[in-house]
Amino acid sequence: MVDGLLMPKQLSVSDAIARFVPDGSSVVLGCQMEQMIPFAAGHEIMRQKRRGLTLIGPISDMLFDQMIGAGCAERVIAAWVGNVMMGSAYNFRRKVEQEGLQVTDMSNFTVALALQAAAMGVPFLPTLSALGSDVAKDNEFFAEIESPFPGSDGARSPSSATKKLHAVKALRPDVTIVHVQRADCDGNAHCWGNFGIMLEAVKAAKCVIVVAEEIVTPEVIASDPNRTVIPGFLVSAVVEAPLGAHPSPVQGYYKRDDAYFRQYHEQTKTQADFDAWAQRWVHGVTDRAGYVALLGECRVKELGVKRHAYAAPADYGY
């Protein structure tokens, strides 16, 4: 914790990826499910041609498919990989079916538990989920155990007299990348909306990159400590990237670009099609500003907030 005390944390997305996501890293992305997917960071990883990554997430709404299509991934540890609105993800299917991309199948709950175990500093957490399923079979993250407290179970159904449980092994990623609404230059971050597995993924990781719509003063963050989801002392880099989660939505900043998800589905059925897509949207731009320019003012405006809806005041005074 003492190391790097005086290093400024606010970096460009390219510096942050260059410094904290080397080849071979295990990376958590898409923690907040279909909201605030860190596409800006993911595209930078693709631009920097990272190889041998292990991609970790609950569901991945399109981003994993892109990174897989770009050849960044060697392994996926996830519960679901696809395009939530449209269905299958073609690169994922192709690489798994034809090129042996390694997949460790989890369920949403158990991938969250694996990260939570690491976040809590314990080797495993117990669950009743996935008992009897093939998800748990030949899966290094699962072991069947018995409760050391016979006759007592935490479940509330009278039928649950069983003592069997799954232990889910701790998963400690190299880096977790999250997109949030706002953060200060130390990485203290505010987020609102659904959290998915963000809280545990941040605490589980060896290093954390926060990508924010806005960098704000520390006073803004400290004005509402219950809105803080990430304390700066866990953060290695903080990046300002407006529209950095597009086409996924950021509550209070822009809505979901549904058409973009449809178009991706239509335009990436073969590797060649995907390569053309990536050339346009990823390699054809140098950074997020370029991407936003490509989207065009009109589309960006259309995605913006039409009706503000502010939270009721909360007074921290005394």
């Binding site: 499910m33 949403n108 093939d134 479940a155």
Partner: protein
Amino acid sequence: MTSPPHISEHIDCTLGELMVASAAREIRDGEVVFVGMRLPLIAFVVAKRTHAPNAVGLFENGVIRTTPAPELIYTMADPPNILGATQCLDMLSVMSLLQAGRVDLGFLGAAEVDKFGNLNSTVVRVSGHVSGHDFSRAVRDGQGTGALAPAAVDRQPSTDGQFVRLPGSGGACDIASLAKRFVVLLEHSKRRLPERVSYITSPGNGDGAGWRQRVGLPRGGPSAAITTKAVLRFGDDGEAYLGSVHPGVTVEDVLANTGWKLQAAEDVAETPSPSSTELQAIREYDKEGFWTK
């Protein structure tokens, strides 16, 4: 606002609408429902707007809603599903409620559902082409039900391998393991209703009665499979039987398109068509018919 008479030939609603209304009716008022992805997102909204105003919706991304989302959503994290929510939590918190037995009902999709209500949405083994079956359509996505939406139909299959990789469990394995009961929605075909799934993503009744208890699952199991032709229910033996056939569908058609000898009574009921209230709720919500056309 009375129910229209059941229709057979000239059904005045789409199959999607029928399935959404059927799914909505599985929700009882006041129940806590794990909503899941895709079609059930609409079913929850419809139930809230019709017979189950006190139902509580849990979404695995961490959202809890007691009011329906104000406008159409494609994913559970769409901004309208956050605005005005009762609570926005994290996934572990809602999954904990599920595991603790606080959830009455969960909705699921699947690429395959078998005789005992086990679900596969992970991987399907393929051994050569099956005559006349567009497999790629059936397995287009793990949640399966989206295959009913024309926009989502996969027009360019590319399966040469020995298996087809589907998106995976998502929260389906958890919901099937831990909810008090679950309902699955899928297309009705021999291929999607095999006698036994090749991979159990989400446990149903395993190999029959008593299996869930034996493997350690605390409760639950399949309550219904709402297909494009019928509603299957599950008996005390853990096996599926024909609960009702959709208007215009014959029992023979259902049996011929099921991958095992499906139990069916002499006199099988017809799935009730959506009431005008239900249809209104569906159409006001899914204005362009993305999910239900």
